[in-house]
């Protein structure tokens, strides 16, 4: 077999590598452009502010869907944030190397890889059935909290660990208690990182389908209490695509989703950049 000269293989390899990059861009472009081109024309004020007509006709807008999504985000984040931050504080500020800590770490690692549908099964068995919450916002939110907790803990813990140790030492040396140090020094310094974690979680609530499919019910009506069922934007896309012929509406809803996700991505990038520049400023001794 004749060997290809190093120069030819170099050239060939680079062509293939750029090809891979190009193809990735192409995939994203195909998805985003296809959805936007087919969906954006349907998006108007009426679409956003009228409720869908019936659950299954596919006609009407997405107002109740947007409201449900917002409620679900608020309830989920409201429960998720204190638990997630608390756990992260324990792991980064208190945890010693003992069995309990190791168990917790192992749990966080493992939970992060468990697929959404398993959380769905769990939420269905515990919240929907065993706790008699039914297919409801609260059952969906609690399931999401379980799903998002590992990521929330990890991101927050990283943010806390990034706070220079000197800050804590300075605070302790001034006679502050450990908790005061955490509350007044470590947490504020880690705030942009924690905000990033919350926004990322919000994004996940918006993206999630499988676990909500089996816990949230899928009613298209306006939720009246946390015991009402509902459907989020992503679920609505699924129902529209699978249960109706309204592909135009499905595309429009998907377009709304993509626009939200792009905004969230831009926002997190901006936040993490700010976070980083805040730290470089600290390291260089500027305020």
């Amino acid at each position: 077999m004749p060997r290809i000269s190093p120069k030819t293989s170099e050239r060939l390899a680079k062509i293939l590598l750029w090809g891979a990059g190009f193809l990735t861009v192409l995939i994203l472009a195909a998805i985003v452009i296809y959805v936007l081109v087919n969906g954006v024309s349907e998006i108007n004020w009426e679409f956003l502010t009228t409720p869908p007509i019936g659950g299954l006709s596919g006609e009407g807008g997405i107002s109740t869907i947007i409201v449900t999504t917002v409620y679900l985000i608020l309830i989920t984040i409201f429960i998720l944030t204190p638990v997630g931050i608390g756990a992260a504080i324990y792991l980064s500020e208190y945890a010693q190397d003992n069995i309990l800590t190791n168990f917790i770490r192992y749990a966080v690692e493992t939970l992060a890889g468990v697929p959404s549908i398993i959380y769905g099964l769990f939420g269905y068995a515990l919240f929907v059935s065993a706790l008699y919450l039914g297919h409801s916002l609260i059952a969906g939110a609690l399931t999401l909290v379980c799903l998002l907790l590992p990521t929330m803990i990890r991101t927050t813990e990283e943010a806390l660990r990034a706070v220079p140790q000197e800050y804590r030492e300075a605070s302790l040396a001034l006679g502050a208690t450990r908790w005061q140090t955490i509350w007044h020094v470590a947490l504020p310094a880690a705030l942009p990182g924690i905000a990033t974690a919350i926004i990322l979680s919000t994004g996940r609530v918006i993206e999630e389908t499988a676990c909500l499919y089996v816990t949230l019910g899928g009613s298209a009506a306006m939720p009246r209490s946390i015991l009402s069922g509902g459907r989020t934007l992503a679920l609505h896309v699924y129902y529209l695509a699978m249960d109706t012929m309204a592909f135009d509406k499905a595309m429009a809803t998907a377009a709304v989703l993509i626009i939200i996700i792009v905004i969230i991505n831009l926002f997190t990038n901006w936040l993490s950049q700010r976070f980083r520049s805040a730290y470089t400023a600290m390291e260089e001794g500027r305020p």
Partner: protein, 286 residues
Amino acid sequence: MRRFIDRASRYVVLLAASISFLILFAIAFFIIARGLPAIQEIGLVEFVTGTVWRPGQGQYGILPMIVGSVAATFGSLILAIPMGLGCAILLAEIAGRRARRFLRPVVELLVGIPSVVYGLVGMVLLVPLVRNLGGNGYSVLAASIVLMAMILPTITSISEDAIRAVPRAYREASLAMGATQWQTIRHVLLPAARSGIGASIVLGMGRAVGETMAMIMVIGNSIKFPTSPLDSARTLTGNIALEINYASGLHEDALFATGIILLVFIIILNTISFFALRRSRAQNIA
């Protein structure tokens, strides 16, 4: 008072931390408590190697679904590994700052797109295309392509980190000996980063095995053995999501048992990637 808050707060955060532990325990408990009796009743061997899934007739064999999940995942890996690794090398070694600034957000956005949107585009755009190749379009091939787009970012970003983490000294030593850039990548960087790359592939695999909604939308959900990429099939996850709302009694428990099998798959994959990543970190410190 100050002391009291200090001491109490410690227990409060410990409690918060323990919740994650409790959740894992509760998940394991609920899935197993519901699924295990079904496995006992059906018989583990019969359940895992049975080829017919007809709950109405009391036949609960999930082998076709195991094969369906494995086939779709394997197909997606064949497509995603060269692409993802290519992108990772491009981002870590070759692309200039400007190309990187463009490519990285693209990869990030691919992560963020909800899986139903992948499913929707797959259903409307990809399935009719695949139909031209034969069959009805709802197929393992369509599922593999959709999954490829979904796991591409995982493979790309973790492999990129692994390649970046290879000590600079290796790169310089190789280049200083007159090796070309590609030779350096191929013979020095990739071997040195192989644990991290392996972990990225395993994590991508985990994501592919766990994907649910997009699979239901494009794979057709038939309960036979797929014999070609153009055949329809059903995944383990799809089986759960499709039937849980319709099931009762043993049928419902059998779906929890499907969850146990899925969970076993995932835990094996996670453990592999956990150790691979640890090894890759240890290597780069050495």
